[in-house]
Assembly symmetry: D2
Homo-oligomer: 158 residues x 4
Amino acid sequence: MSEQLMKERKDAAMEKRIRESFDRQGLMRHLGAEITRVEPGLVYVCMPFREELTQQHGFFHAGATSAIADTAGGYAGFTLFPLDSSVLTVEFKINLVSPAEGDYLEAVGKVVRSGRTLTICQLEVFGVTGEQRKLVALGQQTLMCIHGKTDEQASKLV
Amino acid sequence: MSEQLMKERKDAAMEKRIRESFDRQGLMRHLGAEITRVEPGLVYVCMPFREELTQQHGFFHAGATSAIADTAGGYAGFTLFPLDSSVLTVEFKINLVSPAEGDYLEAVGKVVRSGRTLTICQLEVFGVTGEQRKLVALGQQTLMCIHGKTDEQASKLV
Amino acid sequence: MSEQLMKERKDAAMEKRIRESFDRQGLMRHLGAEITRVEPGLVYVCMPFREELTQQHGFFHAGATSAIADTAGGYAGFTLFPLDSSVLTVEFKINLVSPAEGDYLEAVGKVVRSGRTLTICQLEVFGVTGEQRKLVALGQQTLMCIHGKTDEQASKLV
Amino acid sequence: MSEQLMKERKDAAMEKRIRESFDRQGLMRHLGAEITRVEPGLVYVCMPFREELTQQHGFFHAGATSAIADTAGGYAGFTLFPLDSSVLTVEFKINLVSPAEGDYLEAVGKVVRSGRTLTICQLEVFGVTGEQRKLVALGQQTLMCIHGKTDEQASKLV
């Protein structure tokens, strides 16, 4: 098997693992969020506007914005973790830099530094309306890699 | 009217304003969250466990935990704001200190310092199971007071 | 040996370890900071006002405030770590809630949750003038315990 | 006067204002830090290694790293503020992503979003040894613009 082919298979396996984990998240389904891009160290999550996602002024709620930012970052880190591991958010910080509005929000999680135990991600969330894409939130996140336990084994429902 | 009576009326008006604003939050309803306590500088928000609130391992999702923490802090700040003002979250930081599980989560937002423009809150979230109450998240939040616009006027839906 | 005596000896050994480590910090000496209280999970650091610690308006610089807050939290965590370990700051977040002024600043680091790998601390800094003590900064910190290496062994100067 | 010339004069005035304010910071001088680059929305601060800047293991102290990160971000924001204003740090969050070592540290403050009252900056600190430049810290900062008071007028020493 060529090196290129091996890399493709590995990437496909990694993406499958991420998507299956994402599908186990009741909250993402409940919020109507979807993973739209998975690459090593980079994950996008999109969430269309619905009245069920608003704060008191009719914009996306900071909690909804944060939820997809946290998820995008967590899975961005997870793409670089070994197979027999799972991911936990240690903490994150997020600035809500402008009113969160748009047809949908797009959260981008990017790994900045990946260590054996801890991984640091940058979180960006954009409000997208037609062709326009505006930064609405910016964050920073610390993840922990739990070694020796696959994502499924870490589940308390198993 | 006695001073005591005036204070009671003022507190009742403040609580009403908070509860009406909370009721305009589509997300809180969608997550099944409720305001359970409102005092000057202090707000509690509770959210019973549902499969719709989980992350991939079956615990409450950090995004759901953060959403009620942000809301509790935001309204804790709002209790101290003038009547013709509204509240925005500038930023928050949250540590997920243990797996978020329990019959319900209880978020406590407490004002630490209230200024004319900015207010700082401490955020705590507890997982409650029967008599047990365990800290699951700890955060810190910066709020902004938007003067000259009531909460309802700030709404883009009005 | 009585239990009480054993506890006292253990606490004294712990305090000695903290103070020796503190004394190896070039920065604390350079800033004129001192450890003033060491208890399990709790450390105080004080720093008298000097022109060498100011920002452009003549108050204590946020960097100086943060430096003693980080140190107080780091050693508060370290009091609870095993003997053959050292401590690293993973991250911290700090709000500068009022102008940092006073005869001296007093930073208080308190452990909120101590785990095997990660420990979370709350950081408070007060400006003290005579009898007055005013909160000037509030923070939250994540520490990491490096097992199997004493604080001295972790030193690159050894 | 040509537009180009006007812009150059304005930039020179802005740089002068920043450098004079920096020179009023006792702490930066005490730490041996210097401003090395000033552009609209972007400021670099460098700090050569000295034993006076270390933590207990001989690396740059997180407090020293944070001090120049906060300063770089604060002045990056200040470059975009009106002339009759001054700058305050509301809060910052910083991840110490690898041991802070090198001939010197270089802090880069970059404005991500500049509003009338609040400005958000990204903070990066690099450890530089010869040709090597390694990220040692990553942060995010919220600044406040105090209108109607120049930086010098805000000084309590005036």
